[in-house]
């Protein structure tokens, strides 16, 4: 338990007591009913967890989405997929390590997988730029998706980024245009496309690899037009109002699903994806394969029309 979130403490304390109990028998005089006590404690922990994780606030989910032990794109690429064969570079300028892409097997299927990639430690975060891509990252993604499209490989995009990088070089090389081009071109790829928000879905930087036939989101991930802190800074004039902003923006998986802004919520193991990488990876594989099976039944032209219609529907207004 290296990284503890505040709201996890109630059951973590119980968990510690459980571990103490389990270690005790060797050393002390053990009452015979300790087995019962352990079982009771286990049940209590389970109940506590269920109660806790079914009532999380938007802000608590944001904490889970940013959890440093949460599986990142490469964790899924190695566990949900197999045989990953990475491809590099935008053929124009650079190989942006904030986005990874390459061939992979999904079950028995050959697909192209693309994902924004965060780092686990300082060294890796420097390499990955904290998962915030520059224009060349979006161009790399586009080049590789374009190739997948030409050779009929389905595309899976994994989204986990606080946003596109707000830096001088990114602006000088036209980050906004790079994202816009991806939005336009991804509309027209005729292969099946699935995107999954696995952690943070940070605004245009997330959408830049997010246009798809099916948009999936993990139970504790979020997807937002602006970071809760950024929204709080502008509308509340105080970044500390981020929890209120997170609530107001309706950014949780369940909120977005209710608003028809995502197609499917993928459940996470109890306590969040970081508690069980393998179980999470398996659940995601099942969801991806089921969606891919469905999409492959559809005629490519119809699939394109449906993709257009899906984005066409997004928006609430009064005709007047």
């Amino acid at each position: 338990m290296k990284h503890l979130l505040d709201f996890e403490k109630p059951y973590i304390d119980l968990q510690r007591r459980l571990e103490e109990l389990r270690e005790q028998p060797e050393e002390t005089d053990v009452p015979l009913d300790i087995g019962d006590e352990i079982r009771q404690l286990e049940e209590k922990i389970e109940a506590k967890k269920r109660e806790l994780y079914s009532n999380l606030s938007a802000w608590q989910r944001v904490q889970l989405a940013r959890h440093p032990q949460r599986p990142y794109s490469l964790d899924y690429i190695n566990k949900t997929f197999s045989g990953f064969s990475e491809l590099h570079g935008d053929r124009l300028f650079h190989d942006d390590h904030a986005i990874v892409a390459g061939f992979a097997m999904l079950g028995e299927r050959r697909v192209m997988v693309v994902g924004t990639q965060k780092g686990r430690d300082t060294k890796e975060n420097i390499k990955r730029n904290f998962g915030c891509a520059h224009p060349e990252g979006y161009r790399k993604a586009l080049r590789i998706m374009g190739m997948a499209n030409r050779f009929g490989l389905p595309i899976v995009c994994l989204i986990d980024t606080a946003g596109a990088y707000p830096g001088v070089a990114a602006e000088e090389r036209h980050i906004a245009k790079a994202i816009a081009i991806n939005l336009r071109e991804m509309t027209l790829f005729s292969v099946p496309m699935i995107s999954v928000v696995i952690g943070e879905g940070g605004s245009g930087g997330a959408l830049g690899i997010g246009v798809s036939d099916r948009t999936l989101i993990l139970e504790n991930a979020y997807y937002s037009v602006i970071s809760p802190e950024g929204c709080a800074a502008i509308l509340w004039k105080d970044r500390a109002a981020a929890p209120q902003a997170a609530e107001a923006l309706k950014i949780t998986a369940n909120d977005l699903h209710e608003l028809n802004l995502v197609d499917e919520v993928v459940p996470e193991p109890l306590g969040g994806a970081h508690n069980d990488h393998n179980a999470m990876a398996d659940t995601l594989r099942d969801a991806l394969l089921r969606n891919l099976n469905e999409l492959e039944q559809i005629d490519p032209e119809i699939r394109l029309q449906e993709r257009y219609a899906k984005y066409r529907r997004h928006g609430k207004y009064i005709e007047g």
Binding site: G163, A164, Y165, P166, G167, V168, A170, E171, E172, R173, H174, I175, A176, K177, I179, A180, I181, L183, R184, E185, T187, L188, G202, S203, G204, G205, L207, G208, G210, V211, Y223, S224, V225, I226, S227, G230, C231, A233, I234, L235, W236, K237, Q244, A248, L249, K250, I251, L256, L259, L261, Y308, Y311, R312, H314, G315, K316, Y317, I318, E319, G320
Partner: protein, 312 residues
């Protein structure tokens, strides 16, 4: 001539608060501040009756009628004052030719967004202030011999922010252009996506870009005109997708706001950063055109781009 009043009429736009894909709430007034000249001053013999505006760039006082006739461009130094969507439409299209589409579409507060101020109240305030229903006007008009589908944003309405109405109206006018095989032009002026509409706003980026994808696939030209300021979500969608990308001089153009960039990178910004001129030098913009020349130059571009356009 001695300027009748020396106040600086222009406030800053407050763009430092722009975050990626999002607009600031902008209670900012980018419009020109009028200074009525009292006939009772001691200089009254030198000053004609009426309204004057001081140019923030060159300091000259400009008679408002002259400023209006020059499309709110300073006749002394060509400083481009903020203007409105309707003024742009009137300046660009042939008289009586513009027919507005979706004129009555209005925003709804789907998320019931209440931060420090309620979105619903903001909408009412800006409708009243601008006389507009939302931040874009769309329609079909004529420029020279060309019938064009036109979308013109207005920064005065909630910072030109893009919510569902802006996204839907832009999408519909592009779709209409595709259907009627017309060139499309969008004149942008926006702080970005409208955060009061949450993810509905972000999805407008994808929706408008998708409409442009199909317009382009039909071999139809799309021109994007950037005006001060065009940033964030609008820049990350239709404003960046023109076959031609044109800008007014000195327009501020970018994705992230300068304050955010400074805070993130802890470094100084280069001179002229995120201006039209800076971005033309770096390959984004085809041409920078004065507002007074915009109609003639766009019409000329259309003469080339529509040369082989067959009416379907």
């Amino acid at each position: 001539m001695v300027p009748p009043m020396a106040d600086t009429p222009k406030k800053t736009l407050g763009l430092e608060t722009v975050e990626p894909a999002v607009t600031p709430p902008t209670d900012v007034e980018p419009a020109i501040e009028k200074k009525p000249v009292s006939p009772g001053t001691s200089r009254k013999r030198e000053i004609p009756q009426g309204l004057w505006t001081k140019c923030p760039e060159c300091g000259e006082m400009i008679f408002d009628k002259e400023l209006e006739e020059n499309l709110k461009v300073c006749p002394h130094c060509t400083h481009h004052f903020p203007t409105t969507a309707w003024d742009r439409i009137n300046a660009l299209t042939e008289p009586e030719s513009f027919q507005e589409t979706e004129a009555d579409m209005i925003s709804v507060d789907t998320l019931e967004f209440t931060g420090t101020a309620a979105y619903a109240d903001k909408l009412e305030k800006h409708k009243e202030k601008t006389g507009l229903k939302d931040a874009v006007i769309t329609g079909i008009g004529r420029m020279g011999d060309h019938e064009v589908a036109l979308g013109v944003m207005d920064f005065n309405f909630l910072g030109g922010s893009m919510g569902s109405v802006v996204g839907e109206k832009i999408t519909r006018i592009i779709e209409l252009a595709t259907e009627r095989r017309l060139p499309a032009i969008v004149i942008s002026s926006s702080g970005g996506a409208r955060m009061y509409e949450g993810m509905f706003s972000l999805m407008q980026l994808a929706k408008t870009s998708a409409a442009i994808a199909y317009h382009g696939r039909q071999g139809l030209p799309y021109l994007s005109v950037l005006t001060h300021p065009t940033t964030a979500g609008v820049m990350a969608s239709y404003a960046s997708l023109g076959d031609l990308i044109i800008s007014e001089p000195k327009a501020m153009i970018g994705f992230a706001g300068p304050r955010v960039i400074k805070d993130t990178t802890q470094s100084e910004l280069p001179e002229g950063f995120q201006t039209a001129e800076f971005l033309m030098e770096r390959g984004l913009i085809d041409s920078i055109i004065d507002r007074t020349e915009m109609k003639a130059r766009i019409t000329e571009y259309l003469d080339y781009l529509c040369l082989n356009l067959k009416k379907g």
